[in-house]
Amino acid sequence: METLFFFVVAAVAVISGLLVITCKNPINSALSLIMTFFCIATFYVMLNAPFMAAIQVIVYAGAIMVLIVFVIMLLNIRSEAGRRGAHTTLFGSALGIFGLIELLYFLAKGGLTGSRGGLDAKIIEQFGHTELIGRALFTQFLLPFEITSILLLVAIIGAVILAKKNI
C-alpha cells in the first residue's frame, strides 16, 4: 500500500519534472515545478519529516515559486522565441543522461552507509518534529542559523538595490 503510494507520487514527480524542461510556456513549467515540489513534500511526510514538508510548501511553493510566477507575469514572457541549436540540446541531454547512468550505477554498487543516530519515528511522534528541529537549530547550529539571517538580509538589500530604476 505504502509502496504503491510511493510509486504513484514518484511517477508524478518525475513526469512533472520532465514537463518543467519540456514545456514551451514558462508558466506551465512553473506549474509543473510546483507539482514536483508538492510531491517532494509528500516524500518528506513519508520520511517522518512533517516540518520539512510544511516549510517545503511554504518556502518553495508559497514564496519562491510565487515570486517566479510573479516575475514571469511581470515581464509577460509568453514562450521561448526559439530553442537552442539541435546539437546543444543533444549534447546537453546526452550529458544529463550519462550523468544519470553514472549516478544509478553508483547506487547499484551499493555500500551506502553512515553512522546511525538515535532518532526514529517514535521519538519524533513523542517530542514533535518541529521541537526537535528547533532544539537542534538553536543549540548545535546556532551560529550557522544566525549567519543565514545575515545572508537573507544581504539578499533583501541586494534585491532592493537591483530593483531600483537606474543601476
Binding site: I27, G62, A63, V66, F70, T130
Partner: protein, 350 residues
C-alpha cells in the same frame, strides 16, 4: 466493531469519512448562505431589504443563483492559455477547503466505545490517552494559505487580458505582503502555547480569559492584526483590490463565466469561512464556551463572518499604495514589536 484494517479499527475509517463529509457539507452550506446573509445584512445596513422574492425571506436565492450560473455558457478566450485557464478555479477553491482538515471543531466524543476527536486529521491514541493530530497543523494552514494565491495569479495570467493580469499581479503582491504579517502574528500564539498542534493550542485556551486574545495586551493586538491581515490575504473588502470593479472591471475573473466563475465565488467565501475558523481556533478559544463544543465553535465562526460583512458595509476600499504601506510599514514592524513585547511579557509573567 472488532474489525481492523491495516492495524486500525474499522470505526477509525468510518468516523474519518463521516467527519470529512460533515465538514464539507457544513462549509458548503455556510458558503451558500453566507452570500444570502451578506446581501440581506448589507441591505438592511443600507436601509434596503435585500433578496426576498425566491422563497421565504429569499432563503432559496443562493440555490437559484447557483442554478443560473450552472446553466450559463462556458467561455474560454481565444488567446488564453487553456490549461492554466481551466485549472485556475480549482486551484483557488481546493486550498480553501482542505485547510479544514486540521481545524478542531470540538474535543473528543465517544462513539461506540471509541473516543473520536472532532478534527479530521487526528486520531485518539488509547495508550497515551491523548489526541494525536499532525504536529505542524499551524504550518499546514500557512502552507495552504500561501498556495491559495496560485488560483488567482493563474487566472489573471491565463486570461490574456490586461485587467486580469493587473488583478492577478496585485493579488499576488498583496497576498505575499500580508502573509508575512499574518505569519508573524501567529508566532505570538506559538510563543504562548509552545506547540504547533492545533488541538493542543485550543485545548489550552479553556475559560474566557484563557483565550489567547485575552492573555495579554500583545496577544490582543496580535489577534486583531492577524484578522485584518487575513482579510487582506483573502482579498476581502476593504482590501479587495484585485477585483476592484471601478478600475479593473472584475479583476482576475473578468474573463470567467459559468461554473468556473461560481468556483471563484465559492473560493472567496470558503476562504472567508476558513479564515474565521482559523482565527477562532488560534485566538478565540476554539470550541470553548458555554454551549456544547461544536456549537461554541460554529457560533464564534459565524460571529466573525458577521464582522467581515459588517466591515464590508462600513469601510471604503484602500488605494493600492496605501495597502502596501499598511502591510509593510505598519503591520510588519508592529508584529515584530509585538513579538518582542510578548517575549518580555512571558519572561516577566511566566
Amino acid at each position: 466493531m472488532g474489525y481492523e484494517i491495516l492495524g486500525l479499527p474499522l470505526i477509525y475509517y468510518i468516523t474519518m469519512v463521516a467527519k470529512t463529509v460533515a465538514v464539507f457539507v457544513f462549509v458548503l452550506l455556510t458558503v451558500a448562505y453566507a452570500t444570502w446573509a451578506e446581501r440581506k445584512l448589507i441591505g438592511h445596513m443600507q436601509v434596503r431589504i435585500g433578496p426576498k422574492r425566491v422563497g421565504p425571506y429569499g432563503l432559496l436565492q443562493p440555490i437559484a443563483d447557483g442554478l443560473k450560473l450552472f446553466f450559463k455558457e462556458e467561455i474560454v478566450p481565444a488567446q488564453a492559455s487553456r490549461f492554466a485557464f481551466l485549472i485556475a478555479p480549482l486551484v483557488a477553491l481546493v486550498p480553501a477547503f482542505i485547510s479544514f482538515a486540521v481545524i478542531p471543531f470540538g474535543d473528543t466524543v465517544t462513539i461506540a466505545g471509541y473516543q473520536v476527536p472532532l478534527q479530521i486529521a487526528s486520531v485518539y491514541d488509547g495508550t497515551s490517552m491523548r489526541v494525536l493530530d499532525i504536529n505542524v497543523g499551524v504550518l499546514y494552514i500557512l502552507a495552504m494559505a500561501s498556495v491559495g494565491v496560485y488560483g488567482i495569479v493563474l487566472a489573471g495570467w491565463a486570461s490574456n487580458s490586461k485587467y486580469s493580469l493587473l488583478g492577478g499581479l496585485r493579488s499576488s503582491a498583496q497576498m505575499i505582503s500580508y502573509e508575512l504579517a499574518a505569519g508573524l502574528a501567529i508566532i505570538l500564539v506559538f510563543m504562548s502555547s509552545e506547540t504547533l498542534s492545533l488541538h493542543k493550542i485550543v485545548a489550552e485556551q479553556a475559560g474566557l480569559f484563557g483565550w489567547n486574545i485575552f492573555r495579554n495586551p500583545f496577544m490582543f493586538a496580535g489577534g486583531i492584526i492577524f484578522f485584518i491581515c487575513s482579510l487582506a490575504e483573502i482579498n476581502r473588502t476593504p482590501f479587495d483590490l484585485p477585483e476592484a470593479e471601478t478600475e479593473l472591471v472584475s479583476g482576475f475573473c473578468t474573463e470567467y463565466s459559468s461554473m468556473k466563475y461560481a468556483m471563484f465565488f465559492m473560493a472567496e467565501y470558503a476562504n472567508m469561512v476558513t479564515v474565521c475558523a482559523v482565527t477562532t481556533t488560534l485566538f478565540l478559544g476554539g470550541w470553548h464556551g458555554p454551549f456544547p463544543p461544536v456549537v461554541n465553535f460554529v457560533a464564534k465562526v459565524y460571529g466573525l463572518i458577521f464582522v467581515c460583512m459588517w466591515i464590508r458595509a462600513t469601510y471604503p476600499r484602500y488605494r493600492y499604495d496605501q495597502l502596501m504601506r499598511l502591510g509593510w510599514k505598519v503591520f510588519l514592524p508592529a508584529t515584530l514589536l509585538l513579538i518582542c513585547g510578548n517575549a518580555v511579557w512571558l519572561l516577566v509573567f511566566p
